[in-house]
């Protein structure tokens, strides 16, 4: 395979795409879309969120040092796109889109009812990098929709219809997984006996 060389760019793909809710000190709520986010640490659970200082949510989050990451399902893709291109300075995006809110369990920022999963986050560190500041935040609680859990309490996130962002487009995940973590080194079991 031959490759062409380009100058550096943000070519990491596919990435998550999430709706982030926050409240300012006057208790106003805003929502915006972020694709520049990632897991930063497992213990404690920390995520990174890159935010442009021009964003209204940047102000809200810097004031409150809290936010909620709402994982949207594919039926919300139009709302996800809209919250990425329109500003809370011009309109109340939540009202405009009919997104409804619920209280979080720990942070003051609200969760979006229509999203199947919410991560309640407290900012621990803000690192200015250039066009974006990188916010590191501990995930202090998560909320998962009842219908995604089976009788034993196991979470079936594969039924949440989450979406990915890749090179300027939103994609659903394929229904069928390619494999579970560790599948490449597991012994195959056939009729109860390991296959040599």
């Amino acid at each position: 395979m031959t490759k062409k060389v380009f100058k550096g760019s943000v070519m990491l793909n596919p990435v998550p795409v999430v709706l982030i809710t926050s409240k300012n000190k006057e208790n106003k709520t805003n929502v915006f879309t972020v694709a520049w986010t990632g897991t930063a640490c497992t213990k404690p659970p920390i995520i990174s969120v890159a935010i442009r200082p021009e964003r209204l949510s940047y102000e809200y989050i810097k004031e409150s040092m809290e936010f909620v990451v709402n994982l949207p399902s594919k039926d919300l893709v139009r709302q996800v796109d809209f919250c990425g291109v329109r500003s809370g300075r011009q309109m109340d995006k939540l009202k405009e889109l009919g997104l409804t809110l619920d209280d979080a369990s720990i942070v003051n920022a609200p969760i979006i009812k229509q999203c199947p999963v919410a991560l309640e986050c407290k900012v621990t560190n803000i690192i200015p990098l250039g066009s974006h500041d990188l916010f590191l935040a501990e995930v202090v609680a998560i909320q998962v929709e009842d219908r995604l859990m089976d009788a034993s309490g196991k979470i079936h996130l594969e039924n949440a219809d989450l979406i990915s962002y890749s090179h300027g487009e939103y994609f659903p995940l394929d229904n069928k997984a390619l494999g579970k973590f560790g599948f490449s080194v597991m012994k195959k079991i056939k009729k109860g006996k390991p296959v040599k």
Copy 2:
């Protein structure tokens, strides 16, 4: 929708899953799999990569302060999984899996030929967070496979068959995008005329 509250955990999904190559000061190469990565800044282009200090690649990258992020296609999912569960301390994973290398254009770490996209990275900052250290690295060059570009030079990453990691499973993206960035506010064009 009713939700159940859990304690905080790394519930951000779906995330990228990439193969990272690095060289130590004795010119030994290692490869390992990372799902805890994200875009951290656009200008300059910076990504974050969370690495456990116990990892062999942690040593290599701390020594060289360089690495390459190789984006794998779905036909490489077995190799991706293997490089996440096996250590370079026990074996030469690249040789074991038949992955072949090419020189990068700027950094000393090599690129994996079989991966359609490579991001050449130089570490700018290392932030200890707990179980993982967060490496921030500038993307100094990217390499994209020729077959992903059309005659005008546009990159069609949707043909790269990239994969996502979600809640312990690897998933291909669906073939069909849900929409392009900005689609929710674009005027619909029908037979050359905007639809009101």
